[in-house]
Amino acid sequence: MSTNTPEKQGLGPVSDLVDLGTGEISREIFVNEEIFRREMEHLFPRAWLFVGHASQVPNPGDYFSSQMGSDPVLLTRDDKGEIHVLLNSCRHRGMRVCRYDEGNTMQFTCPYHAWSYSIDGALVETPGDLHGVPQMKAAYDNKLRKKQWGLVHCPNIHVYKGLVFANWDPEAPSFEEYVGDFHWWLDNLADAFDGTEGATEVFRGVLKWRIKSNWKFVSENFLGDTYHGASTHASVEAVGIGPGGKGKRRHGERQDQGGFSKGRMKTSFRLGHGASDNLAYEVPYPEFAEPEMEEYFAAAWQKRAEKLRAEDRPLGGRGPATLFPNMSFAAGFPRSILVAHPISPTETEVWRWFIVDKDAPEFVREWLRHYYMRYGGPAGMTEQDDMENWDYATQASLGVVARRYPYNYQQGLGQELPSDLDRAVHSHHAIAGEVNARAFYRRWAEFTDNLSWPELEELAKTDDRATAVAPDALPEIGRREEDN
């Protein structure tokens, strides 16, 4: 594969650059302009993308400016309370009709020539339709078919417990089909800490920052790269910023649980999604130094455990995880959503939202808000060190010589373990194991090579990865060496 670079042979299908048999992936997919163009063209407009949270637009007329792949969009709520996703580009000459990050309006008026688009169902048939056109008579002899020139309306929207997803392709499978059994992780993200369904909201304020990195480094990191923690986050572990008090580990795991990683396996879906843990891997909420926190979370854990056990549901599955292709999240400490917006092969804009229980008392809200800020985002003591790695990994892969040598994704190759979940497997180990990344890039290549929906569906119908490991071998698996 090292000789099969696009320069030498012309760029064939990107699947040629992802060798799952050997666990080698060409660096080209992280730096090549043509591959980036194909991602923009064939992947992002066909994938279900996270655009925002319903709690960001609670009232009619509220809007939030978002981004889907290469296109700016508006997440709006109409007069009837329905959520819409509209392309933020005027149909006349393309002006970005709204340059505000958020606000409230029933009408978006283009600054260029003042075409105006309404989201008021009393005025237009479909919210986003063209409503006002200056000099309609003089300019168009009243013949402009306004119905055909509304803001482009995203055809597929799915609000999942407050999480708003959209997909540009009318032929795309339903959100449920696209997500599959990975929905359990989304549930843990969107449900309250006590298990109440969808009882969460986002704090106002989305962290947005630019990095000189390929977007896939970000997705891959949260998808299941627990291997990076010990080195990348050594400094924050050393000083400690966690719930147990400011000298404690950053996540504040309960030490009475017998160690961090027992029974932990990563979960990898044939559909491309991945999580750093598995549903059976239960991690009780952390120990807190403050009694108010301890009380809230002890009660929440108990209530959730009772509820889920009654439903015969396991208690694990809090990530970090990535919904293919670019929505990453963690449903624990912190609880947060991240989207990696691609700008160029070597530039990405990262957005981070923080999630909180709707009914959390003031003390808990404030405590979590402070913890989230010192943990995540560009000022966060954990996340700062991630960006250094993603950026310089991208930069150092741009060289002509560097590009001849693939990255290594061989951890646990051929050691995938079967899963009870639909079309999923587990890693052989808690911390090591790159099965999630291999599956992510396989699905990535299938989309980027523009396979048709029937082809995509057919390929993901079964999972060919699970090896014939005896199920009774499982309990020993996932034990980190240090835990022994």
Binding site: S65, R99, Y100, D101, E102, G103, F203, R204, G205, V206, L207, K208, W209, R210, I211, K212, S231, T232, A234, S235, V236, A238, V239, G240, I241, K246, E349, F354, R365, E366, R369, H370, Y372, M373, R374, G377, P378, A379, M381, E383, Q384, D385, M387, E388, N389, D391, Y392
Partner: protein, 176 residues
């Protein structure tokens, strides 16, 4: 011409406060973090809201995120101490190799004098360069509350408005 003693007193105080801010900038740029920490009061509070793109009539309501919302920074001295400790680990990759930083402080003006506390506003330009071409400019306004103590001035409160909505730097691993 009569000497306006009040004015002279104010000018001297302003000069003294500005001097303190310049010295503080030096400590940061010379990476004398422990000495710098000594200049922060025990009840120090540091906040840097996010800045949003909003309509002119939404400015008051929406332009800056508030105290109960997400900000770039909203922390007390104990968190700042952790950040200093993190720099000293030698494995804080965001600052390895260490950045070259210059804090420029200008437009210093006393807004309120209620000794032992004063409120002082200024503009800042923080320049960071690291590795080779990685260069960041962080520019904006700052409002500090300072307290005069037996051991000199202490920073009690620092509220900073950074003039960016999308942060163009990849991180904020330096003290702004």
């Amino acid at each position: 011409m009569a000497i306006d003693e009040k004015l002279i007193e104010k000018v001297l105080l302003e000069r003294e406060v500005a001097d303190f801010l310049y010295r503080e900038a030096d400590l940061l740029d010379e990476r004398r973090y422990d000495e710098w920490l000594d200049l922060l009061a025990d009840d120090y509070h540091y906040s840097v809201p996010l800045r949003l793109n909003v309509r002119y009539d939404d400015v008051a309501e929406r332009e800056n995120t508030r105290a109960c919302e997400v900000q770039w920074f909203d922390e007390d001295k104990s968190t700042v101490e952790l950040r200093v400790a993190q720099l000293a680990t030698g494995v804080h990759w965001a600052e390895e190799p260490v950045s070259r930083v210059s804090h420029l402080v200008t437009n210093v003006r006393l807004d309120r004098v209620e000794l032992p506390e004063v409120e002082v506003s200024c503009r800042f330009l923080v320049y960071r360069n690291r590795v080779a071409d990685e260069t960041d400019f962080l520019v904006g306004r700052r409002r500090d509350t300072l307290r005069r103590t037996e051991d000199g001035w202490r920073v009690v409160k620092r509220h900073l408005l950074l003039d960016q909505s999308v942060l163009m730097a990849k991180n904020l691993s330096i003290f702004v």
